[in-house]
């Protein structure tokens, strides 16, 4: 376990979670005034052109706009696996919620916690491989600093698991803590392999270091085996080794299957402790300083333990060893007393505690909020605090705490993490599920984020739409469809635009697109995108203009199929029912011309009267222009001719229809 937070300073500096003002490369806030704007996951910073009064000369400004990312770890390729895999665990955890109670629930929660830890470990191992492969470069150093961050995260998580989730009682508590230390101070395994692999293990320079470390970690069986090797090669100390080995063997420990009570254990342990003390006072090991110091360790002697500071490597190891040999049945409530004194003794006033020390100390004090607060300050990502807080919340440990912002701590941290995911180019899909599991502000947050996802292809848009539709976010569905419809219009893809506005049920936009279709028809004399317009179906009812477009196209189809009578009555009804826009009436009347000129009579007398009325409505309603220009005069000329031709055709048709209706076959 390496010390991490000293190397982590620049990371925390760049994240907005730090209390110190973040330092942005290339920006000098001393010289120039800065302005900024918050985004959902990022912040924009740039220099303003505003000059301070005392400075008259113009300083060349920095032409850049800086994007400040809140959660830089989100962009790590390897950590991306952590985010993806833990997302599954998170969703699973939300599901177990109500089903279980009591013991099985606790077992489930511990299992979830272990799953999270194993993902951290897997990630750490991969990161470590990269760090080793790329040892000397800056990237390699970055990787190894990431490894130490991950390692610290796992260390903290493990301790929280023991204290808050497992809630180990006196007795088993120490066993858990021992496992915790053994898991995180694992150099001893390499050392052991090294020593045992040598020709003569007991003559190896690190032999006694190894034995001491094993004893410090409470791995007494292994330590005894080492001692027996020493006894074999060194007959003079064989007796002493045997005595010490016996002491190690007889040390009373709590075994999981045993039914003995804590009081029994304490009594037996007290007895064993006295025996060790007697051997020390009798000078049994006086001739061998190594064995004597080991015996002192077994007695839990502070001074003897502190002599092994190098081997202990950190204060929490010291704490656990100290408890093992002096207070094996320590109660959870007393832990913080021993932790504080161990930290003080270990540091000895030479150095001040680092952030990691503070976090662990807060955990030993059972101050969950302090743990989360310190972690938020020290770590460069939101992943850790968000997931840990969520898990602890499921253990019903955070109920009482209210924030003066947001809704509660769990939601606040989850949403912070989610907004980091949304800011990422590809991880937005994960963010959705985190928002879903925040009952109070999750929905609002999702609504804000989802609208801001860049829609590069229709396929991506469909995925975003599916997310919105599943959650009945109608406003967002409308807005996304509208964006796509606008895009399609800009690309001259009217068919697509119409499809999107139909999907959005956006009547106004459907009207706009329909107008474009009609305008194109007027210009070119033929319809485009027939495959769509012919198959509108019930969607045609969305807007009047769209209905008109569909019906008008139907008129053309009927005309093309030579079903003139149907075509004629459809055409007329388009005008009389006021579906057709006024501006289009002249086109419709012109369309009636060929029908009026057919050999057989198509419009009845009554229909012809209607047509006449439409024409008169149109011509009388026209405003008189003041000073017409040449172009308009020309247009008017054409219009006048049109009207005259129409009048003539209508009159002739009226005559024919009256004759026809008056004659025998008509009646």
């Amino acid at each position: 376990m390496s010390r991490l937070f000293s190397s982590d300073d620049q990371n925390t500096g760049a994240s907005a979670s730090a209390t110190v003002p973040p330092w942005i490369p290339g920006v000098n806030s001393q010289k120039k005034q800065m302005c900024f704007d918050w985004g959902p996951g990022e912040m924009l910073v740039c220099e303003t052109s505003f000059n301070r009064k005392e400075k008259s000369e113009m300083v060349a400004g920095c032409p850049f706009i800086h994007i400040i990312r809140k959660d830089i770890d989100v962009y790590s390729k390897i950590l991306r696996k952590l985010f993806n895999e833990s997302h599954g665990i998170f969703v699973g955890l939300q599901r177990i919620e109500e089903e279980l109670t009591g013991k099985s629930r606790k077992a489930q929660l511990v299992r979830v916690s272990k799953n999270y830890r194993s993902v951290i470990r897997a990630c750490m191992e991969e990161m470590h491989q990269f760090a080793v492969a790329d040892k000397d470069s800056a990237r390699g150093r970055q990787f190894s600093s990431q490894v130490s961050i991950l390692s610290a995260m796992e260390l903290i998580w493990n301790l929280c698991e023991i204290l808050f989730i497992e809630v180990a009682p006196a007795g088993p508590l120490l066993l858990y803590l021992l496992d915790w230390v053994r898991l995180h101070v694992c150099e001893v395994d390499n050392l052991s392999a090294d020593v045992l692999g040598s020709e003569n293990p007991s003559k190896h320079e690190s032999f006694w270091n190894l034995v001491t470390t094993l004893v410090l970690q409470g791995r007494l069986d292994e330590a005894r085996q080492m001692l027996s090797k020493e006894a074999d090669t060194n007959p003079t100390s064989a007796g002493m080794c045997r005595v010490l080995g016996d002491l190690m063997r007889t040390m009373p420990v709590l075994s999981p299957g045993n039914t003995q009570t804590l009081t029994e254990l304490e009594l037996r342990w007290q007895h064993w402790h006295e025996e060790c003390e007697r051997h020390l006072q009798d000078g049994t090991f006086a001739s061998n300083p190594h064995l004597e110091s080991l015996c002192k360790v077994l007695l839990g002697d502070d001074a003897a333990l502190l002599e092994q500071k190098e081997l202990l490597s950190n204060w929490y190891h010291f704490l656990v060893t100290r408890l093992l040999y002096s207070q094996p049945t320590v109660k959870p409530m007393d832990l913080h007393l021993y932790a504080q004194s161990s930290l003080d003794l270990f540091l000895g006033g030479e150095s001040s505690p680092e952030p990691l020390d503070n976090i662990l100390m807060a955990a030993f004090e059972f101050d969950i909020h302090q743990v989360i607060k310190e972690c938020s300050l020290a770590l460069s990502n939101w992943w850790f605090v968000a997931h840990l807080t969520d898990l602890l919340d499921h253990c019903k440990l955070l109920q009482s705490h209210n924030l003066y912002f947001g809704s509660n701590m769990r939601e606040f941290l989850l949403l912070e993490y989610a907004s980091g995911l949304f800011a990422h180019h590809s991880l937005w899909q994960l963010g959705v599920d985190y928002c879903d599991h925040c009952p109070e502000l999750g929905r609002v947050s999702l609504e804000l984020h989802i609208e801001r996802i860049p829609l590069t292809t229709e396929q991506k848009a469909l995925k975003v739409l599916r997310v919105c539709e599943q959650r009945q976010m109608t406003e967002q569905v409308r807005s996304i469809c509208k964006i796509l419809a606008m895009k399609a219009v800009r690309n001259n893809r009217l068919g697509s635009a119409l499809s999107w506005s139909i999907r959005a049920k956006d009547a106004a936009f459907a009207t706009l697109v329909s107008d474009r279709f009609l305008r194109d028809y007027c210009e070119r004399g033929c319809f485009s995108d027939l495959d769509l317009i012919d198959n509108l179906g019930p969607a045609m009812m969305l807007s009047d203009r769209l209905t008109f477009l569909g019906k008008y196209r139907e008129f053309h189809r009927l005309y093309g199929e030579k079903r003139f009578v149907d075509a004629a009555s459809l055409l007329l009804s388009l005008m009389t029912s006021q579906i057709a826009p006024r501006s289009f009436w002249m086109t419709l009347l012109t369309d009636a011309l060929p029908l009026l000129e057919q050999k057989q009579v198509i419009f009845s007398a009554e229909q012809t009267y209607e047509l006449l009325r439409c024409l008169e409505d149109l011509t009388s309603g026209r405003p008189l222009c003041g000073e017409p220009d040449v172009q308009q005069l020309q247009d008017d000329d054409i219009e006048t001719t049109k009207v005259e031709i129409l009048r003539l055709a209508l009159a002739r048709n009226l005559a024919r229809s009256i004759i026809k209706e008056g004659s025998l076959e008509g009646s």
Binding site: N84, E458, K463, G495, S496
Partner: protein
């Protein structure tokens, strides 16, 4: 297929395809290609799952998948097809169509042919958005057909620099997928639920036939042709419905099956055992349709349409971590079996080999999944 092996690959996979085997080969495929989407940098990659020699208890190979090589791809990979054993055709969201060549000797990929701006918009929009995503590609060496959001159909030949044939304005809406029918006919599906058949011998931009579910207009996302019966196609739509069409008769599907709960992204017939059909969807599931009959009927996918109502399919979902459940529809003439595979939303590649002789490729939106079937 009792177990699924999963590995996270730090990118979102949009398509996976097994590499075709040399004709007559009895080996199982060991190499597959993937294309990624929605990443800041996208890649086309080749992976191998062979060469490990660890036999598991069923006699199949098991092993970690291994990245053979990858190459940067500009834009999202919208579709991916093997042209032959060495060449892969990728369709890009930038409207570009690229042929990548795999060099097995030094395990690298290189660009062998590229048609930039194969798909584009001609609107008054700004030049930056004038490229239109290419949504689908289908290969029949040496011919390559691509379709795009611009409603355009391109016919390329691998050795020609220019498009051999382009049908502008082939569709007023987005074309989502394309498949070969009988050469030189192709079939496209679009976002207003239509199937259109095109004949490259005919000039002009009119399809020879339009099929659609009347009044429905549900977008179709994928299409695949029956490997032996060239007039039979399967399509999958936005509502998760699976439709089987016989393009010779009528304009209605012969069979309509309620399947997924969300968009069906891909449908594939098993290449050598077409009674088996595979579909996958946005809802995270992969379904295996088994139409081999218990009774005397052949091609029982067709009989589904004659059933009074579509069968109730019992689907139970695995809780928590990705799992797999098999549900069987009881007591019907045709026993449809579905293998439901739960996905997590991460970018994870999963595969399973069963040491058998043919293969099938499925893909899902976020992640890839490769499966082999007996």
């Amino acid at each position: 297929m009792e177990e699924i092996y999963a590995k996270f690959v730090s990118q979102k996979i949009s398509k996976t395809r097994w590499r075709p085997l040399p004709p007559g080969s009895l080996q199982t495929a060991e190499t597959f290609a993937t294309g990624s989407w929605d990443n800041e940098e996208n890649y086309v990659s080749l992976w191998s799952i062979g060469d490990f020699g660890n036999l598991d208890s069923d006699g199949g190979f098991e092993g970690d998948h291994q990245l053979l090589c990858s190459i940067k791809h500009h834009g999202d990979v919208m579709d991916l097809q093997f042209l032959d054993q060495e060449r892969i055709v990728a369709a890009s969201s930038t409207g570009c169509v690229t042929i990548f060549l795999h060099h097995p000797n030094n395990q690298t990929l290189s660009v062998s042919q590229q048609w930039t701006a194969a798909h584009y918009h001609t609107g008054p929009g700004s030049p930056s958005c004038s490229n239109a995503p290419c949504t689908g590609v289908v290969c029949n060496n040496p011919e390559i057909v691509t379709v795009g959001e611009d409603g355009r159909i391109n016919l390329f030949r691998a050795d020609h620099k220019e498009a051999v044939r382009t049908i502008d304005n082939a569709d007023s809406s987005t074309l989502h997928a394309v498949t070969f029918l009988r050469t030189p006919e192709i079939l496209t599906v679009n976002s207003i639920g239509q199937l259109k058949i095109w004949d490259f011998r005919q000039q002009g931009n009119e399809p020879t036939q339009i099929l659609s579910l009347t009044g429905d207009r549900v977008p179709l996302h994928c299409v695949d042709r029956h490997p032996n019966q060239q007039h039979v196609v399967a399509t999958g739509g936005q509502d998760g419905m699976l439709s089987i069409w016989d393009v010779r008769q009528g304009t209605m599907p012969v069979s309509l099956l309620k399947a997924h709960e969300a968009e069906m992204w891909e449908v594939h017939f098993h290449p050598s055992n077409p009674d088996h059909l595979f579909t996958c969807s946005e809802d995270g599931s992969l379904w295996h349709w088994d139409a081999s009959t218990d009774g005397p009927e052949k091609s029982s996918l067709f009989h589904q349409a004659s059933l009074p109502s579509s069968p109730t399919i019992v689907i139970s979902r695995a809780q928590g971590s990705p799992g797999r459940q098999i549900a069987r529809e009881p007591g019907k003439r045709n026993s449809f079996r579905q293998y439901i595979v739960e996905h997590s939303k991460g970018d994870r590649a999963k595969w399973k080999r069963t040491g058998s002789n043919t293969l099938m490729t499925m893909q899902k939106s976020e992640e890839s999944r490769m499966m082999k079937k007996n």
